[in-house]
Assembly symmetry: none
Homo-oligomer: 253 residues x 2
């Protein structure tokens, strides 16, 4: 049995039973408890479950719903998300876009932050359930499965009635000439609509996105105010954005 198969099995079992007992599952799979514990530790590190003494419990379902893409570069996204989370001031109204980085960011918002979060991503809404002092405004509409966000006319209408201080935008490409881009036209339009309603737009740019271009443009760079990047991003990669007057916010090493 492959390691990844095993991990899938663990997650599946966790969903079915609502819990994992390390010893039991190790027996069921004919493996040593050591290996299983290792798996649990790794899955927990990816945020896919909650490690507890004796086994594991479900993490928030929000994260589990976006499993595949997590493998990309968790630590990079985590660092970017952490910095972005610290940018939010008490009392502000912020818009959170969909995507794994944003979900992570929601999770990393200070526990006692009093603010309003507008989002079209149910994953983020679920993630914020634990933040007692955050008011969550959910934008409705038809759910776009790929990125788990509400879209369509209904969503756009609802967005039009909002004014926010900050918009944290997640994209798949950030390029000096082509601006920020994403893989779906409708999604690009929604992101654009969200950006229009915020005083400031902040792009969450984990490592692999810099210099990348996707089919549909969300915004030109002129519409971007800040760019959050990792600590070890090459200065040369950042220069073009800085030259265009975009504030670069870098996670410290």
């Amino acid at each position: 049995m492959l390691t990844s198969e095993r991990k899938a099995f663990i997650l599946d079992r966790l969903r079915r039973d609502g819990r994992i007992v390390a010893k039991t599952v190790a027996e069921a799979l004919g493996l040593s408890e050591d290996t299983l514990r290792r798996d649990l530790r790794e899955l927990a590190a990816e945020g896919l479950l909650l490690r507890v003494h004796g086994g594991a419990l479900p993490a928030s379902p929000a994260i589990a719903a976006l499993p595949a893409r997590w493998s990309v570069s968790p630590q990079s996204k985590m660092a970017v998300a952490a910095v972005a989370a610290r940018m939010v001031q008490p009392g502000q109204v912020i818009i959170l876009d969909g995507g794994t980085t944003s979900v992570q960011m929601a999770r990393l918002l200070p526990r006692d932050l009093a603010a309003t979060v507008v989002t079209h991503s149910p994953s983020i809404a679920v993630e914020l359930a634990g933040h007692e002092r955050i008011t969550v405004e959910m934008i409705g509409g038809r759910l776009f499965r790929h990125s788990m966000v509400a879209m369509g006319t209904v969503a756009v209408e609802m967005i039009a009635g909002i004014r926010a201080d900050l918009f944290f935008l997640g994209v798949t490409g950030v390029h000096p000439d082509y601006g920020v881009t994403t893989g779906d036209a409708e999604e690009a339009a929604i992101k654009r609509a969200l950006a229009r309603q915020a005083a400031e737009t902040v792009v969450l740019a984990s490592a692999e996105k810099l210099g990348a271009v996707s089919p549909f443009r969300v915004l030109p760079l002129t519409e971007i105010d800040s760019l959050v990047v990792e600590a070890d991003t090459a200065p040369a990669l950042l220069a073009p954005y800085r030259d265009r007057g975009i504030t670069i916010i870098q996670a410290e090493g």
Copy 2:
């Protein structure tokens, strides 16, 4: 039972009963009172409950962590959810209410079912991410933390534009005279609004809800079409509903 599960159980019980008697719970869980007292002490240290002589009381009126309720006993509500999930026909438009039973039901919908699900619960939306052939319509609005559903005027407006075949309603009380009830007035209103838009209303009634009454009425029994209950529900408990012409759907043992 895992330690953290046990703590979740304690908090759940505390929320349900409004208090914890150390001795009683220790017996119920088959543990020494020492262990239980230790748990109570620790939970109190975390500020999750108020330790008093003989047991514990809620720390603040509204410590309601929905995720905690999950780990407690997924099995009990599972049966009701499973039966309800099988009621959905291909091509139908259904409305799913919030609550743990509904989330479980969403999860148990057939993998290959092609249907449309309307919901005001982000948890359910997230849960349905894996169901490729289900179209999810998310209802927006301000998130009501306790039960993780969108509420408010925006939600009501959006609901008004929907027509569905079935509405699966989750409540906290089902009573022959008082009808179906829940703990929050606004929530009751939203549920009522949802019921108005569906041709048929189905109540998900796990065991402990039958005969219970909560402060706010959602609907009188005359507005209810079906009632889904567990396999081992006493026939005497069901008779009043059957007499009123409500279809009883019982999970098989």
